[in-house]
Protein backbone atom coordinates (compact mmCIF):
# COMPACT_ATOMS: atom_id res chain seq x y z
CA UNK A 1 0.00 0.00 0.00
CA UNK A 2 1.12 3.49 -0.84
CA UNK A 3 1.28 5.72 2.22
CA UNK A 4 1.72 9.02 0.44
CA UNK A 5 -2.04 9.81 0.29
CA UNK A 6 -2.21 9.62 4.07
CA UNK A 7 0.56 12.13 4.47
CA UNK A 8 -0.80 14.40 1.80
CA UNK A 9 -4.29 14.27 3.24
CA UNK A 10 -3.08 15.03 6.72
CA UNK A 11 -0.98 17.92 5.55
CA UNK A 12 -3.82 19.25 3.44
CA UNK A 13 -6.51 18.92 6.06
CA UNK A 14 -4.30 20.47 8.74
CA UNK A 15 -3.23 23.38 6.61
CA UNK A 16 -6.78 23.95 5.46
CA UNK A 17 -8.32 23.83 8.91
CA UNK A 18 -5.87 26.36 10.29
CA UNK A 19 -6.82 28.79 7.58
CA UNK A 20 -10.51 27.97 7.53
CA UNK A 21 -10.79 28.15 11.28
CA UNK A 22 -9.51 31.67 11.60
CA UNK A 23 -10.91 33.04 8.39
CA UNK A 24 -14.28 31.45 9.07
CA UNK A 25 -14.35 32.99 12.51
CA UNK A 26 -13.27 36.33 11.13
CA UNK A 27 -16.04 36.28 8.56
CA UNK A 28 -18.56 35.25 11.19
CA UNK A 29 -17.47 38.07 13.48
CA UNK A 30 -17.61 40.52 10.63
CA UNK A 31 -21.08 39.48 9.53
CA UNK A 32 -22.50 39.30 13.05
CA UNK A 33 -21.41 42.86 13.71
CA UNK A 34 -22.85 44.25 10.51
CA UNK A 35 -25.26 47.06 11.12
CA UNK A 36 -27.28 46.78 7.96
CA UNK A 37 -29.66 43.82 8.05
CA UNK A 38 -29.92 43.47 4.28
CA UNK A 39 -26.22 43.59 3.56
CA UNK A 40 -25.84 41.06 6.32
CA UNK A 41 -28.22 38.62 4.72
CA UNK A 42 -26.59 38.99 1.33
CA UNK A 43 -23.10 38.40 2.71
CA UNK A 44 -24.40 35.41 4.56
CA UNK A 45 -25.85 34.01 1.36
CA UNK A 46 -22.59 34.50 -0.51
CA UNK A 47 -20.53 32.82 2.18
CA UNK A 48 -22.83 29.81 2.24
CA UNK A 49 -22.65 29.43 -1.52
CA UNK A 50 -19.84 26.91 -2.04
CA UNK A 51 -22.00 24.45 -0.19
CA UNK A 52 -24.68 24.22 -2.86
CA UNK A 53 -22.36 23.76 -5.79
CA UNK A 54 -21.44 20.20 -6.64
CA UNK A 55 -17.78 20.06 -5.59
CA UNK A 56 -16.66 19.18 -9.09
CA UNK A 57 -18.35 22.25 -10.42
CA UNK A 58 -16.87 24.36 -7.67
CA UNK A 59 -13.57 22.86 -8.78
CA UNK A 60 -14.23 24.06 -12.29
CA UNK A 61 -14.80 27.57 -11.15
CA UNK A 62 -11.70 27.44 -9.04
CA UNK A 63 -9.73 26.22 -12.01
CA UNK A 64 -11.05 29.11 -14.06
CA UNK A 65 -9.93 31.53 -11.38
CA UNK A 66 -6.63 30.05 -10.30
CA UNK A 67 -5.52 28.26 -13.46
CA UNK A 68 -2.00 29.29 -14.51
CA UNK A 69 -3.38 30.93 -17.61
CA UNK A 70 -6.01 33.00 -15.82
CA UNK A 71 -5.19 36.43 -14.42
CA UNK A 72 -5.16 35.51 -10.74
CA UNK A 73 -3.28 32.28 -11.21
CA UNK A 74 -0.83 34.10 -13.46
CA UNK A 75 -0.37 36.83 -10.90
CA UNK A 76 0.51 34.35 -8.22
CA UNK A 77 2.87 32.55 -10.54
CA UNK A 78 4.61 35.66 -11.81
CA UNK A 79 4.92 37.54 -8.56
CA UNK A 80 5.26 34.86 -5.96
CA UNK A 81 6.42 32.01 -8.11
CA UNK A 82 3.59 29.96 -6.64
CA UNK A 83 1.76 27.70 -8.97
CA UNK A 84 -1.60 27.08 -7.45
CA UNK A 85 -3.44 24.75 -9.78
CA UNK A 86 -2.27 21.13 -9.87
CA UNK A 87 -0.01 21.49 -6.86
CA UNK A 88 -0.29 20.72 -3.22
CA UNK A 89 -1.52 24.24 -2.57
CA UNK A 90 -4.47 23.44 -4.82
CA UNK A 91 -5.57 20.59 -2.56
CA UNK A 92 -5.45 23.02 0.31
CA UNK A 93 -7.33 25.64 -1.66
CA UNK A 94 -10.07 23.17 -2.53
CA UNK A 95 -10.38 22.00 1.06
CA UNK A 96 -10.58 25.58 2.27
CA UNK A 97 -13.23 26.70 -0.17
CA UNK A 98 -15.41 23.69 0.46
CA UNK A 99 -15.16 23.79 4.26
CA UNK A 100 -15.27 27.52 4.86
CA UNK A 101 -19.07 27.77 4.80
CA UNK A 102 -19.35 25.31 7.64
CA UNK A 103 -16.85 27.08 9.79
CA UNK A 104 -18.38 30.44 9.04
CA UNK A 105 -21.94 29.38 9.67
CA UNK A 106 -21.23 27.49 12.88
CA UNK A 107 -19.16 30.31 14.29
CA UNK A 108 -21.84 32.79 13.44
CA UNK A 109 -24.52 30.80 15.21
CA UNK A 110 -22.24 30.41 18.20
CA UNK A 111 -21.45 34.10 18.44
CA UNK A 112 -25.10 35.00 18.30
CA UNK A 113 -25.79 32.82 21.30
CA UNK A 114 -23.35 34.63 23.60
CA UNK A 115 -24.93 36.99 26.16
CA UNK A 116 -24.18 40.52 24.91
CA UNK A 117 -23.92 41.78 28.48
CA UNK A 118 -20.62 39.98 28.76
CA UNK A 119 -19.27 41.99 25.87
CA UNK A 120 -20.53 45.24 27.34
CA UNK A 121 -18.93 44.33 30.62
CA UNK A 122 -15.62 43.80 28.84
CA UNK A 123 -15.93 47.16 27.14
CA UNK A 124 -16.61 49.11 30.30
CA UNK A 125 -13.64 47.37 31.86
CA UNK A 126 -11.53 48.92 29.13
CA UNK A 127 -10.67 45.69 27.35
CA UNK A 128 -9.82 46.24 23.71
CA UNK A 129 -12.19 44.77 21.16
CA UNK A 130 -9.40 42.37 20.34
CA UNK A 131 -9.13 40.96 23.80
CA UNK A 132 -12.88 41.03 24.27
CA UNK A 133 -13.02 38.83 21.24
CA UNK A 134 -10.36 36.38 22.30
CA UNK A 135 -11.00 36.31 25.99
CA UNK A 136 -14.77 36.59 26.18
CA UNK A 137 -16.65 36.09 22.94
CA UNK A 138 -14.52 33.27 21.66
CA UNK A 139 -14.31 31.11 24.79
CA UNK A 140 -18.01 31.51 25.48
CA UNK A 141 -18.89 30.51 21.95
CA UNK A 142 -16.44 27.64 22.05
CA UNK A 143 -18.92 24.78 21.88
CA UNK A 144 -20.41 26.06 18.69
CA UNK A 145 -17.10 27.10 17.21
CA UNK A 146 -15.49 23.75 17.84
CA UNK A 147 -18.50 22.07 16.32
CA UNK A 148 -17.83 24.14 13.26
CA UNK A 149 -14.15 23.31 13.40
CA UNK A 150 -14.90 19.62 13.51
CA UNK A 151 -17.28 19.91 10.61
CA UNK A 152 -14.80 21.92 8.61
CA UNK A 153 -11.92 19.60 9.35
CA UNK A 154 -13.90 16.53 8.42
CA UNK A 155 -15.12 18.16 5.25
CA UNK A 156 -11.59 19.15 4.33
CA UNK A 157 -10.33 15.66 4.96
CA UNK A 158 -13.07 14.16 2.80
CA UNK A 159 -12.96 16.71 -0.01
CA UNK A 160 -12.84 15.01 -3.34
CA UNK A 161 -14.66 16.64 -6.23
CA UNK A 162 -13.08 20.05 -6.18
CA UNK A 163 -9.66 18.62 -5.36
CA UNK A 164 -9.75 16.23 -8.29
CA UNK A 165 -10.56 19.12 -10.57
CA UNK A 166 -8.14 21.81 -9.48
CA UNK A 167 -5.33 19.71 -8.04
CA UNK A 168 -5.54 16.71 -10.26
CA UNK A 169 -4.98 13.19 -9.07
CA UNK A 170 -1.20 13.05 -9.17
CA UNK A 171 0.10 10.21 -7.05
CA UNK A 172 2.56 11.36 -4.42
CA UNK A 173 1.80 15.01 -5.04
CA UNK A 174 -1.88 15.78 -5.01
CA UNK A 175 -3.49 12.42 -4.49
CA UNK A 176 -5.29 12.74 -1.18
CA UNK A 177 -6.93 9.86 0.62
CA UNK A 178 -10.36 10.39 -0.93
CA UNK A 179 -8.78 10.45 -4.39
CA UNK A 180 -6.83 7.31 -3.60
CA UNK A 181 -10.01 5.63 -2.47
CA UNK A 182 -11.69 6.69 -5.63
CA UNK A 183 -8.87 5.42 -7.78
CA UNK A 184 -8.91 2.06 -6.05
CA UNK A 185 -12.63 1.77 -6.44
CA UNK A 186 -12.44 2.82 -10.07
CA UNK A 187 -9.93 0.05 -10.69
CA UNK A 188 -12.18 -2.43 -8.96
CA UNK A 189 -9.63 -2.93 -6.19
CA UNK A 190 -12.14 -2.92 -3.38
CA UNK A 191 -9.64 -4.44 -0.99
CA UNK A 192 -7.30 -1.49 -1.42
CA UNK A 193 -10.20 0.94 -1.30
CA UNK A 194 -11.37 -0.44 2.03
CA UNK A 195 -7.91 -0.04 3.48
CA UNK A 196 -7.84 3.63 2.57
CA UNK A 197 -11.39 4.16 3.76
CA UNK A 198 -10.45 2.61 7.05
CA UNK A 199 -7.51 4.93 7.41
CA UNK A 200 -9.68 7.89 6.51
CA UNK A 201 -12.27 6.92 9.06
CA UNK A 202 -9.78 6.22 11.81
CA UNK A 203 -7.95 9.44 11.12
CA UNK A 204 -11.06 11.56 11.24
CA UNK A 205 -12.32 9.66 14.21
CA UNK A 206 -9.13 10.37 16.11
CA UNK A 207 -9.21 14.02 15.28
CA UNK A 208 -12.90 14.46 16.05
CA UNK A 209 -12.60 12.63 19.33
CA UNK A 210 -9.48 14.60 20.13
CA UNK A 211 -11.30 17.84 19.49
CA UNK A 212 -14.18 16.68 21.66
CA UNK A 213 -11.76 15.87 24.39
CA UNK A 214 -10.18 19.28 24.18
CA UNK A 215 -13.60 20.91 24.41
CA UNK A 216 -14.40 18.73 27.37
CA UNK A 217 -11.25 19.69 29.21
CA UNK A 218 -11.43 23.30 28.25
CA UNK A 219 -15.00 23.75 29.34
CA UNK A 220 -14.58 22.70 32.89
CA UNK A 221 -16.20 25.93 33.88
CA UNK A 222 -19.44 24.91 32.30
CA UNK A 223 -19.80 21.71 34.17
CA UNK A 224 -21.65 21.65 37.43
Amino acid sequence: MDFSPILISMKTASAAIVFTFFVGIAFAYWVVNMKHEKVKMVCDGLLTLPLVLPPTVAGFFLLYVFGVKRPIGKFFLDFFGVKIAFSWSATVLAAIIMSLPMMYRSARGAFEQVDPNLLYAGRTLGMSEWSIFWRILFPNALSGILSGGILAFARGLGEFGATAMIAGNIAGRTQTLPLAVYSKVAAGDMQGAYQYVLILVVLSFLVVTGMNYVTYIYQRYNRR
Binding site: D115, Y120, A121, T124, G126, Y221
Partner: protein
Amino acid sequence: MKKLQVDFRKRLKNFDLQMNFAMEEGRLGILGASGCGKSMTLKTIAGIVTPDTGRIETGKTVFYDSAEKVNLTPQKRKVGYLFQNYALFPNMTVADNIAAGIRHAKRKDKRHRTEKQNVREQVKNLIEQFQLQGLENQYPVKLSGGQQQRTALARILVSRPDILLLDEPFSAMDSYLREELQIELDNRLKTFSGCSVIVSHDRDEIYKLCSHTMIMGEGSNIIFEETKKLFNQPRYMQAARLTGCKNISKAERVGPRTIRATDWGVEFCIDREIPKQLSYIGIRAHDFIPADVNDQRRENVIPVFPCGITKAPFEWTLLFQNKENPKGNMWMKQERGKEQIPEKVWVDQSKILLLE
Protein backbone atom coordinates in the same frame (compact mmCIF):
# COMPACT_ATOMS: atom_id res chain seq x y z
CA MET B 1 -15.97 72.24 38.11
CA LYS B 2 -18.66 69.78 37.13
CA LYS B 3 -17.31 66.26 37.03
CA LEU B 4 -20.25 64.71 35.29
CA GLN B 5 -22.90 66.41 33.24
CA VAL B 6 -25.72 64.37 31.89
CA ASP B 7 -28.49 65.57 29.66
CA PHE B 8 -30.12 63.14 27.30
CA ARG B 9 -33.32 61.74 26.00
CA LYS B 10 -34.07 58.16 25.01
CA ARG B 11 -37.28 56.54 23.88
CA LEU B 12 -38.09 53.42 25.83
CA LYS B 13 -41.01 51.15 25.25
CA ASN B 14 -43.35 52.55 27.85
CA PHE B 15 -42.05 56.05 28.35
CA ASP B 16 -39.32 58.49 27.44
CA LEU B 17 -36.24 58.53 29.60
CA GLN B 18 -35.25 62.14 30.01
CA MET B 19 -32.39 62.84 32.36
CA ASN B 20 -30.72 66.09 33.14
CA PHE B 21 -28.32 66.50 36.01
CA ALA B 22 -24.80 67.56 36.79
CA MET B 23 -22.63 66.62 39.69
CA GLU B 24 -19.37 67.68 41.18
CA GLU B 25 -16.92 65.44 42.89
CA GLY B 26 -18.52 63.08 45.32
CA ARG B 27 -21.12 60.41 45.31
CA LEU B 28 -24.56 60.47 43.95
CA GLY B 29 -27.22 58.07 45.09
CA ILE B 30 -30.17 57.30 42.88
CA LEU B 31 -33.46 56.23 44.37
CA GLY B 32 -36.42 55.34 42.25
CA ALA B 33 -39.22 52.86 41.86
CA SER B 34 -38.53 49.60 40.12
CA GLY B 35 -38.44 50.06 36.37
CA CYS B 36 -38.20 53.84 36.38
CA GLY B 37 -34.99 53.87 34.37
CA LYS B 38 -32.17 53.82 36.88
CA SER B 39 -30.19 51.05 35.24
CA MET B 40 -30.85 52.55 31.83
CA THR B 41 -29.39 55.85 32.97
CA LEU B 42 -26.24 54.16 34.16
CA LYS B 43 -26.00 52.17 30.93
CA THR B 44 -26.30 55.35 28.92
CA ILE B 45 -23.48 56.98 30.85
CA ALA B 46 -21.35 53.88 30.46
CA GLY B 47 -21.92 53.89 26.71
CA ILE B 48 -23.74 50.58 26.55
CA VAL B 49 -26.94 52.22 25.43
CA THR B 50 -26.91 55.14 23.02
CA PRO B 51 -29.42 57.89 23.75
CA ASP B 52 -31.49 59.52 21.02
CA THR B 53 -30.28 63.05 21.64
CA GLY B 54 -28.35 64.94 24.24
CA ARG B 55 -24.92 65.43 25.70
CA ILE B 56 -22.96 63.57 28.34
CA GLU B 57 -19.59 64.85 29.49
CA THR B 58 -17.12 64.86 32.29
CA GLY B 59 -14.80 67.70 33.10
CA LYS B 60 -12.16 66.07 30.94
CA THR B 61 -14.02 64.53 28.05
CA VAL B 62 -17.22 64.61 26.07
CA PHE B 63 -18.70 61.13 26.12
CA TYR B 64 -21.61 61.76 23.88
CA ASP B 65 -22.99 64.66 21.95
CA SER B 66 -25.71 64.13 19.41
CA ALA B 67 -25.14 67.56 17.89
CA GLU B 68 -21.42 67.12 17.43
CA LYS B 69 -21.83 63.46 16.62
CA VAL B 70 -19.51 62.41 19.37
CA ASN B 71 -20.06 58.97 20.84
CA LEU B 72 -17.07 57.55 22.69
CA THR B 73 -16.69 53.81 23.02
CA PRO B 74 -17.20 52.42 26.51
CA GLN B 75 -13.48 51.67 26.63
CA LYS B 76 -12.53 55.31 26.21
CA ARG B 77 -15.02 56.50 28.79
CA LYS B 78 -13.18 54.82 31.64
CA VAL B 79 -16.34 54.17 33.48
CA GLY B 80 -16.68 51.27 35.87
CA TYR B 81 -20.13 49.76 35.65
CA LEU B 82 -21.40 47.14 38.03
CA PHE B 83 -24.08 45.22 36.19
CA GLN B 84 -27.20 44.44 38.10
CA ASN B 85 -26.73 40.78 37.21
CA TYR B 86 -22.93 41.03 37.59
CA ALA B 87 -22.01 39.84 34.05
CA LEU B 88 -19.06 37.82 35.25
CA PHE B 89 -17.20 36.01 32.50
CA PRO B 90 -18.26 32.38 32.84
CA ASN B 91 -15.07 31.12 31.26
CA MET B 92 -12.77 32.75 33.77
CA THR B 93 -12.04 31.95 37.38
CA VAL B 94 -12.61 34.51 40.09
CA ALA B 95 -8.98 35.58 39.93
CA ASP B 96 -9.04 35.88 36.15
CA ASN B 97 -12.27 37.81 36.23
CA ILE B 98 -10.71 40.31 38.56
CA ALA B 99 -7.49 40.45 36.58
CA ALA B 100 -9.55 41.09 33.43
CA GLY B 101 -10.43 44.46 34.89
CA ILE B 102 -6.86 45.66 35.03
CA ARG B 103 -6.15 48.29 32.45
CA HIS B 104 -2.66 47.72 31.23
CA ALA B 105 -0.34 50.62 30.79
CA LYS B 106 1.07 50.68 27.31
CA ARG B 107 2.73 47.34 26.93
CA LYS B 108 6.16 48.54 26.06
CA ASP B 109 6.48 51.00 28.89
CA LYS B 110 6.87 48.37 31.54
CA ARG B 111 8.80 45.24 31.75
CA HIS B 112 6.47 42.31 31.35
CA ARG B 113 7.72 40.49 34.39
CA THR B 114 7.08 43.19 36.90
CA GLU B 115 3.70 43.87 35.44
CA LYS B 116 2.65 40.29 35.79
CA GLN B 117 3.84 40.35 39.37
CA ASN B 118 1.88 43.51 39.85
CA VAL B 119 -1.30 42.05 38.50
CA ARG B 120 -1.04 39.06 40.73
CA GLU B 121 -0.56 41.27 43.74
CA GLN B 122 -3.44 43.57 42.98
CA VAL B 123 -5.71 40.63 42.46
CA LYS B 124 -4.59 39.07 45.68
CA ASN B 125 -5.27 42.24 47.62
CA LEU B 126 -8.74 42.58 46.25
CA ILE B 127 -9.54 38.95 46.87
CA GLU B 128 -8.70 39.51 50.48
CA GLN B 129 -10.57 42.74 50.79
CA PHE B 130 -13.66 41.20 49.31
CA GLN B 131 -13.31 38.04 51.34
CA LEU B 132 -13.04 35.75 48.40
CA GLN B 133 -10.10 33.73 49.68
CA GLY B 134 -10.24 30.10 48.65
CA LEU B 135 -12.42 30.87 45.68
CA GLU B 136 -9.66 32.22 43.43
CA ASN B 137 -9.89 29.27 41.09
CA GLN B 138 -13.63 28.78 41.18
CA TYR B 139 -15.72 29.49 38.11
CA PRO B 140 -18.72 31.81 38.36
CA VAL B 141 -21.37 29.08 37.95
CA LYS B 142 -20.09 27.66 41.17
CA LEU B 143 -20.26 30.87 43.15
CA SER B 144 -23.06 31.92 45.43
CA GLY B 145 -24.95 35.11 44.59
CA GLY B 146 -23.03 37.21 47.09
CA GLN B 147 -19.70 35.82 45.96
CA GLN B 148 -20.54 36.73 42.39
CA GLN B 149 -21.43 40.24 43.38
CA ARG B 150 -18.23 40.68 45.33
CA THR B 151 -16.17 39.40 42.44
CA ALA B 152 -17.87 41.84 40.10
CA LEU B 153 -17.21 44.70 42.51
CA ALA B 154 -13.56 43.78 42.82
CA ARG B 155 -13.23 43.53 39.06
CA ILE B 156 -14.56 47.02 38.61
CA LEU B 157 -12.48 48.61 41.30
CA VAL B 158 -9.30 47.12 39.90
CA SER B 159 -9.94 48.79 36.56
CA ARG B 160 -9.38 52.22 38.16
CA PRO B 161 -12.21 54.01 36.44
CA ASP B 162 -12.71 57.75 36.43
CA ILE B 163 -16.37 57.32 37.16
CA LEU B 164 -17.98 54.51 39.09
CA LEU B 165 -21.51 53.37 38.36
CA LEU B 166 -22.79 50.83 40.83
CA ASP B 167 -26.15 49.20 40.22
CA GLU B 168 -27.33 47.82 43.55
CA PRO B 169 -23.87 46.90 44.73
CA PHE B 170 -24.87 45.14 47.93
CA SER B 171 -28.23 43.64 47.13
CA ALA B 172 -27.05 40.04 47.25
CA MET B 173 -25.12 40.25 50.50
CA ASP B 174 -26.18 39.44 53.99
CA SER B 175 -26.50 42.37 56.36
CA TYR B 176 -23.30 41.63 58.19
CA LEU B 177 -21.15 41.39 55.12
CA ARG B 178 -22.96 44.28 53.56
CA GLU B 179 -22.04 46.59 56.36
CA GLU B 180 -18.44 45.52 56.26
CA LEU B 181 -18.21 46.03 52.54
CA GLN B 182 -20.00 49.32 52.72
CA ILE B 183 -17.31 50.55 55.06
CA GLU B 184 -14.68 49.10 52.76
CA LEU B 185 -16.20 50.80 49.74
CA ASP B 186 -16.64 54.01 51.67
CA ASN B 187 -12.93 54.07 52.46
CA ARG B 188 -11.97 53.23 48.91
CA LEU B 189 -14.21 55.93 47.55
CA LYS B 190 -12.67 58.47 49.89
CA THR B 191 -9.39 58.10 48.05
CA PHE B 192 -11.18 58.08 44.73
CA SER B 193 -10.96 61.38 42.93
CA GLY B 194 -13.70 60.81 40.36
CA CYS B 195 -17.37 60.76 41.01
CA SER B 196 -19.51 57.74 41.58
CA VAL B 197 -23.15 56.98 41.13
CA ILE B 198 -24.84 54.37 43.26
CA VAL B 199 -28.26 52.92 42.55
CA SER B 200 -29.79 51.25 45.54
CA HIS B 201 -33.08 50.21 47.01
CA ASP B 202 -31.75 50.64 50.47
CA ARG B 203 -32.20 54.18 51.58
CA ASP B 204 -29.92 53.68 54.55
CA GLU B 205 -27.20 52.70 52.15
CA ILE B 206 -27.67 55.85 50.12
CA TYR B 207 -27.80 57.91 53.27
CA LYS B 208 -24.59 56.44 54.52
CA LEU B 209 -22.61 56.48 51.31
CA CYS B 210 -23.79 59.37 49.18
CA SER B 211 -23.31 63.08 49.51
CA HIS B 212 -26.08 63.80 47.04
CA THR B 213 -29.22 61.96 46.15
CA MET B 214 -31.33 62.00 43.06
CA ILE B 215 -34.90 60.84 43.07
CA MET B 216 -36.26 59.48 39.83
CA GLY B 217 -39.87 59.33 38.80
CA GLU B 218 -40.91 57.40 35.75
CA GLY B 219 -38.25 58.31 33.23
CA SER B 220 -36.91 61.56 34.66
CA ASN B 221 -35.11 63.01 37.62
CA ILE B 222 -37.47 64.77 39.99
CA ILE B 223 -35.02 66.03 42.54
CA PHE B 224 -31.31 66.36 42.88
CA GLU B 225 -30.35 67.40 46.35
CA GLU B 226 -27.85 67.05 49.12
CA THR B 227 -28.65 63.78 50.81
CA LYS B 228 -29.16 65.11 54.35
CA LYS B 229 -31.36 67.90 53.16
CA LEU B 230 -33.41 65.61 51.01
CA PHE B 231 -34.07 63.15 53.77
CA ASN B 232 -35.11 65.95 56.09
CA GLN B 233 -37.20 67.90 53.62
CA PRO B 234 -38.15 65.67 50.76
CA ARG B 235 -40.37 68.36 49.22
CA TYR B 236 -41.88 65.95 46.70
CA MET B 237 -44.28 63.14 47.35
CA GLN B 238 -42.13 60.56 45.52
CA ALA B 239 -39.08 61.69 47.41
CA ALA B 240 -40.83 61.34 50.71
CA ARG B 241 -42.01 57.86 49.80
CA LEU B 242 -38.61 56.72 48.56
CA THR B 243 -36.79 58.09 51.57
CA GLY B 244 -39.02 55.91 53.64
CA CYS B 245 -41.93 58.05 54.72
CA LYS B 246 -44.73 55.59 55.40
CA ASN B 247 -47.57 58.01 55.86
CA ILE B 248 -48.48 60.12 52.89
CA SER B 249 -51.86 61.64 52.30
CA LYS B 250 -53.44 63.96 49.82
CA ALA B 251 -53.79 67.31 51.49
CA GLU B 252 -55.53 70.61 51.01
CA ARG B 253 -55.26 73.91 52.70
CA VAL B 254 -58.41 74.72 54.63
CA GLY B 255 -57.34 77.70 56.70
CA PRO B 256 -54.46 80.19 57.00
CA ARG B 257 -52.51 77.70 59.06
CA THR B 258 -54.63 74.58 58.73
CA ILE B 259 -54.22 71.66 56.35
CA ARG B 260 -56.60 68.77 55.93
CA ALA B 261 -55.14 65.34 55.18
CA THR B 262 -58.02 64.03 53.14
CA ASP B 263 -56.96 60.38 53.13
CA TRP B 264 -56.89 60.21 56.89
CA GLY B 265 -59.61 62.64 57.83
CA VAL B 266 -57.30 64.63 60.08
CA GLU B 267 -56.47 68.30 60.24
CA PHE B 268 -53.07 69.67 61.12
CA CYS B 269 -51.89 73.10 62.13
CA ILE B 270 -48.69 74.45 60.64
CA ASP B 271 -46.90 77.60 61.67
CA ARG B 272 -44.48 77.67 58.79
CA GLU B 273 -45.28 79.22 55.49
CA ILE B 274 -47.31 76.78 53.45
CA PRO B 275 -46.15 76.45 49.83
CA LYS B 276 -48.61 77.15 47.03
CA GLN B 277 -48.19 73.84 45.28
CA LEU B 278 -48.89 71.82 48.39
CA SER B 279 -50.84 68.72 47.50
CA TYR B 280 -49.59 66.04 49.89
CA ILE B 281 -48.39 65.86 53.42
CA GLY B 282 -46.20 63.19 54.90
CA ILE B 283 -45.43 62.06 58.43
CA ARG B 284 -42.73 59.56 59.16
CA ALA B 285 -43.88 56.61 61.20
CA HIS B 286 -41.28 57.35 63.82
CA ASP B 287 -42.56 60.87 64.31
CA PHE B 288 -45.88 59.95 65.86
CA ILE B 289 -45.39 60.18 69.59
CA PRO B 290 -47.77 58.60 72.11
CA ALA B 291 -49.60 61.33 74.01
CA ASP B 292 -50.77 60.93 77.52
CA VAL B 293 -54.52 60.88 78.06
CA ASN B 294 -54.17 63.96 80.16
CA ASP B 295 -51.85 65.66 77.76
CA GLN B 296 -52.74 69.33 77.51
CA ARG B 297 -51.76 69.73 73.87
CA ARG B 298 -54.71 70.26 71.63
CA GLU B 299 -53.14 70.74 68.24
CA ASN B 300 -51.94 67.90 66.02
CA VAL B 301 -53.18 65.25 68.38
CA ILE B 302 -55.05 62.30 66.94
CA PRO B 303 -57.22 59.91 68.90
CA VAL B 304 -56.17 56.41 68.02
CA PHE B 305 -58.38 53.66 66.62
CA PRO B 306 -55.93 50.74 66.32
CA CYS B 307 -56.19 48.41 63.28
CA GLY B 308 -53.18 46.17 63.50
CA ILE B 309 -49.81 45.56 65.02
CA THR B 310 -46.75 43.95 63.50
CA LYS B 311 -43.51 43.36 65.28
CA ALA B 312 -40.08 43.55 63.76
CA PRO B 313 -37.08 42.48 65.85
CA PHE B 314 -36.37 45.85 67.42
CA GLU B 315 -39.46 47.85 66.83
CA TRP B 316 -43.13 47.42 66.53
CA THR B 317 -45.52 49.01 64.12
CA LEU B 318 -48.99 50.20 64.96
CA LEU B 319 -51.55 50.67 62.23
CA PHE B 320 -54.24 53.08 63.29
CA GLN B 321 -56.98 55.39 62.08
CA ASN B 322 -58.47 58.60 63.35
CA LYS B 323 -60.96 57.46 65.98
CA GLU B 324 -63.22 60.42 65.41
CA ASN B 325 -63.24 60.15 61.63
CA PRO B 326 -61.94 56.72 60.60
CA LYS B 327 -60.53 56.75 57.10
CA GLY B 328 -57.12 55.64 55.74
CA ASN B 329 -54.55 53.85 57.85
CA MET B 330 -51.57 55.54 59.42
CA TRP B 331 -48.40 53.82 60.53
CA MET B 332 -46.58 54.48 63.73
CA LYS B 333 -43.29 52.90 64.64
CA GLN B 334 -42.00 52.53 68.14
CA GLU B 335 -38.96 50.96 69.61
CA ARG B 336 -39.60 47.71 71.41
CA GLY B 337 -40.07 47.94 75.11
CA LYS B 338 -42.84 50.51 75.29
CA GLU B 339 -45.33 48.14 73.75
CA GLN B 340 -48.53 49.78 74.79
CA ILE B 341 -51.17 51.04 72.44
CA PRO B 342 -51.61 54.75 73.14
CA GLU B 343 -54.97 56.50 73.35
CA LYS B 344 -53.78 59.44 71.37
CA VAL B 345 -50.72 60.31 69.35
CA TRP B 346 -49.15 63.61 68.78
CA VAL B 347 -46.89 64.87 66.06
CA ASP B 348 -44.58 67.82 66.26
CA GLN B 349 -45.76 70.25 63.59
CA SER B 350 -42.16 70.87 62.48
CA LYS B 351 -41.93 67.17 61.58
CA ILE B 352 -44.86 67.31 59.18
CA LEU B 353 -43.58 67.21 55.61
CA LEU B 354 -45.29 69.51 53.14
CA LEU B 355 -45.05 67.95 49.71
CA GLU B 356 -45.77 68.79 46.13
